[in-house]
């Protein structure tokens, strides 16, 4: 019995000693801050910062080649934590979420054909421009939902919808959309124009029942041009997110019904 204990203990000691020596003399130096920063990041590996995963961003942060605050998922808290580790000032970031700027559901937007192919917006868009009459509108084949690392986008009634609570603002959907109709907007903004068609009113009406006609009523109702809540591109109203409107009345007064108050969709996760 005693021999057994002695031998096991001896083997253990020798092993421990060897490992300790190895750690002391053979170890390879690595900046300890990399591990600390990685721990401070959310660990979603969404790639929204442009680096391969959180570890990659952490290495770049420590190396000083990346700006702090690029992590939309972690938000302010994360940026502050990272700044504390790195000893630099944090730049404030407002949480941003994706917004699909189209409200042409199956019952409102005109379909010009029967699409028969793979469920992917990019391919559908390359097939005669897609089956939607409006060439600017959401095709509803979920290219954005496919790339969303958080599963925050789902397609309902032929339209992609974003779950605001799940969205981390990584912006992958923005580049995935062949129609470029997804925009990152401040999470605090509540009033949005859900149309992306800059054509003249009659042309928009031809293809969609809820398209923006550029009537400027929203601008008038929100205090006129001076108030600066809206900008216009062609015949399309755009919310100025630097100075977003907050009067819900203008949504109700929109004759085209292309505006909405907080259209973000909640999947009930």
């Amino acid at each position: 019995m005693a021999t057994a204990i002695i031998i096991i203990a001896g083997v253990g000691l020798v092993a421990a000693f060897t490992l300790a020596l190895a750690d002391r003399f053979l170890s390879v130096k690595e900046d300890p801050r990399i591990g600390m920063v990685t721990a401070a990041l959310p660990g979603a590996n969404c790639g929204g910062c442009g680096f391969p995963g959180c570890d990659g961003y952490a290495r770049a942060l420590v190396a000083g080649t990346a700006p702090n605050g690029a992590c939309a998922a972690g938000g302010d808290a994360c940026a502050r934590a990272v700044a504390k580790i790195l000893g630099v000032e944090a730049t404030a970031t407002e949480r941003r979420v994706a917004l699909v700027k189209c409200c042409g559901t199956r019952s409102e937007a005109i379909r010009v054909g029967d699409y028969n192919g793979i469920c992917d917006c990019n391919v559908a868009a390359a097939t005669a421009g897609g089956d939607k009459g409006c060439t600017y509108g959401c095709l509803g084949y979920g290219a954005c939902a496919n790339v969303c690392p958080k599963g925050a986008i789902s397609v309902r009634d032929g339209l992609a919808k974003v779950d605001k609570r799940l969205c981390i603002g990584c912006g992958k959907c923005v580049t995935a959309c062949p129609k470029r109709l997804i925009e990152l907007v401040p999470a605090s903004a509540t009033i949005h124009v859900l149309c992306n068609n800059p054509d003249k009113g009659p042309n928009v009406r031809k293809v969609c029942g809820v398209g923006c006609m550029g009537c400027h009523l929203c601008e008038k109702n929100s205090g006129g041009k001076e108030a600066g809540h809206f900008t216009f591109q062609g015949f399309l109203a755009k919310v100025n997110y630097q100075n977003p409107p907050d009067d819900a009345q203008i949504v109700a007064k929109c004759p085209a019904k292309c505006m909405a108050e907080d259209p973000h969709f909640e999947t009930g996760h």
Partner: protein, 195 residues
């Protein structure tokens, strides 16, 4: 020569460590998603198992057996293998950085690979000689790698499959592993050896 060939065939095909002895299932399921990682893991296992067999043989023969302590060899082997893997990890990082980059992430996983311990145990039980032990462990590791590589090929294919929701992931991998084991039963009796 033919004796060693028999050991090899026995350990790789007939009594495959994973598919027949069901040892080392954790890395078998864990590191088989991609062929590249499976190859890396196989390389690491072959390396560690061969070295571990040599070390444990020495411990058993010269430290435990003389004192009649055969009954604690499991305890001793776990200790030795765990430290050995750690040591190899550190040493490899220092002296062979490219090899460490390729195998490094798998080394900590091997610490708890029961296949390493299993090989040592079997050697111990068989009371085989040094070279025999080392060669058997090497063969067993090759068998482990063989199964792992085959399995990773199938799993790469399964990654594009569309099983029912409840079978996704590990569940379908286990079913596949079971079927693979079923297929390997065809080799039974191919070599008539205790191994």
């Amino acid at each position: 020569m033919s004796y060693y060939l028999m050991i090899f065939v026995g350990a790789v095909l007939v009594n495959n460590f994973v598919l027949s002895r069901f040892l080392g299932c954790c890395p078998f399921l864990g590191v088989s998603k991609k062929l590249d990682t499976a190859l890396g893991m196989s390389g690491a296992v072959v390396f560690v198992m061969t070295v571990a067999a040599a070390v444990t043989w020495c411990i058993d023969r010269w430290l435990l057996a003389p004192h009649g302590l055969g009954y604690i060899h499991t305890l001793a082997f776990i200790l030795v293998i765990a430290s050995l893997v750690q040591f190899i990890d550190i040493a490899m990082k220092k002296f062979l950085p490219p090899l460490h980059a390729a195998l490094g992430i798998f080394l900590p996983l091997i610490t708890t690979n029961c296949a390493v311990l299993g090989a040592a145990e079997i050697n111990c039980k068989q009371g085989s000689g040094f070279f025999e032990s080392v060669f058997f462990s090497f063969s067993a590791a090759v068998g482990f790698g063989f199964a792992l590589v085959i399995f990773s090929g199938i799993r790469e294919k399964l990654a594009h499959a569309d099983p029912p929701r409840c079978f996704r992931g590990i569940a379908i991998a286990l079913v596949t592993g079971g079927l693979l084991s079923l297929a390997f039963m065809g080799f039974s009796g191919l070599v008539k050896l205790p191994y």
